[in-house]
């Protein structure tokens, strides 16, 4: 009859034993005596478990969807996120569009403007070089996260503009938001600067000296093709147009 599994020397046990400073499972006689440490007192244990419990209550409160309790504890949450920031809403909801970054400059002499798109070639290079695409990934993360931060800042500034003057239209609120986001005191200033720097590097390669003074940056979103029709099962055929998010002029 076989011995219980815990006391058998299995193949994997032998495999792992080579790196261990411990004896194998069968060699109980070599088991060292445990250190004679003081047993933690009941009060100490309760205090530590209480502190850890309080931490987990805060953590749960921090990661839960926005609600009345969380909103009331906003000050505590701000302190909490200084040290324990966490965000786990992976693709919920998932992004349904790709970013497009255009740099556009007037062609000399004053004909149709010359335009280049910068995001798609980067993603293509990332895909082509996978899994050795660390360089492209490093730029992609910085660029995409900045674009996301700019979009969030635009929404916030739009809401602020509407709050301060309820008579303005959505278009006017959006116009004010674009001005606020591209200004030097914007909350997304570092993100706008990052996009500007990336575009400037590309413009140095692509544009002439004269064009470099006048080019503008346009950030847009290109929605992916919608999921197929539920009834017919056919893929959606109509292309979805791009939407402009922000136009960043050259700084004076």
């Amino acid at each position: 009859m076989n011995a219980p599994l815990e006391t058998q020397d299995t193949c994997a046990d032998k495999l792992f034993a080579c790196g261990s400073n411990r004896p194998s499972a069968n060699d109980a006689s070599r088991m060292a005596e445990p250190a004679a440490n003081q047993v933690p007192s009941r009060k100490a244990r309760i205090a530590i478990v209480g502190a850890i419990g309080a931490y987990w209550i805060l953590a749960t409160l921090y990661v839960m969807p926005n609600n009345y309790i969380r909103a009331k504890a906003i000050t505590v949450m701000e302190y909490y996120q200084q040290v324990f920031f966490q965000r786990w809403e992976f693709f919920a909801p998932p992004a349904t569009s790709d970013y497009r970054i255009y740099i556009e400059a007037p062609e000399e002499p004053a004909a149709a403007p010359v335009s280049y798109e910068l995001a798609q070639p980067l993603m293509e290079a990332k895909r082509r070089n996978a899994p050795f695409n660390s360089a492209e990934t490093a730029i992609d993360y910085q660029l995409s996260n900045s674009l996301l931060a700019i979009e969030v800042a635009l929404k916030e500034e739009s809401q602020n503009a509407k709050r301060s003057d309820s008579s303005i239209t959505d278009v006017e609120a959006y116009r004010r938001a674009t001005v606020a986001v591209t200004s030097s005191s914007s909350i997304a200033m570092s993100d706008v600067e990052l996009v500007r720097l990336y575009c400037a590097q590309a413009a140095n390669r692509l544009f002439s000296t004269e064009q470099r003074r006048h080019y503008v940056i346009r950030i847009a979103r290109r929605p992916v093709a919608p999921f197929r029709d539920f009834v017919s099962g056919r893929p959606a055929s109509s292309p979805v147009p791009e939407t402009l998010i922000l136009e960043i002029p050259q700084p004076p």
Partner: protein
Amino acid sequence: MNFWKPDSVRPYFFSLAALRIYLAFHLTYQTTYLWAFRLTLFSPNGLYRSSLRVLPSADSDNHINWVLLVTLVLIVYEGLVLLMAAGIGRNWTIGGLFLITATIQKLNPLILNGGHNLLYFLLLFLSFTDSFQHFTLVRTKPPGSWRVFFSWVGLRCIQTQVCLVYVVSGIAKCHSEVWYHGTALYYVLQLERFNAGIFNRWIYGQPVIETLATYAVWLWEIYFPAFLLHRYAKVCSLAFGTFLHLGIALTMMLYDFASLFIAVYLVFLRRDEILWICDGLRTAWRRPKFFFALTRRRSSLPRYSKNSLNFGAACAPPT
């Protein structure tokens, strides 16, 4: 219930040590990455202009100082990683690694993903856990009561953190239309950022698979902690998670994220369970008929015995 007993951590010392070794490899990869792209990521001449930037501009007179500083930090970082792998310095080494990791993450938060966020908490909780009972160069004493107690706290914190990650992710998906209608996977795999070109075109033409896979991922995330309550459901759930994250690595090019999440599953497996899985895989490797080989094994998944706590000499409780 065993969950609340500090001694219940003993069968997990093996898993914690294995996780520490994995983290050494993971952090070595990250150090190499940071070293290779230090100019792009941290230099004042790079893309990101953080208010936290303390390094002088590379074209200024302090260029040499800056290069020295970055070199020094990364050498110290890798040195600590090697010490952690060898088990030297024990919890202090992991604590030091946690502090440097937190600093580096704050220097350029734009390059972080969910894997970096989890790594932060793993190092924090591992810094007060005894993960040095296996795979160390120096011989370690069996843990005393305090070490067992703090290891228990650390282990349960890591386990709770992973459960929190999945449950929060699952709950957040509940109010998303694309997850509700089973189209989320389609949209995610269509994005240029996460399109590795492997399987994506094939999946595009398989709406049934897309829909079923979307719901499977969603339900698995929400019920992740519940699956841990039953031993076979736990192994199946972790196997599903492993395949899911392998898929994420292959199709979405998130290699470090996926590998960390697969490695962290170790904290849910006791030593005997890991050995059981390894034995099963080894047998399956020898025999080409994989599932047949697994089912013909003489033993089933080991059952946890709360009275004996007999998991071999390495996990024996203090007497």
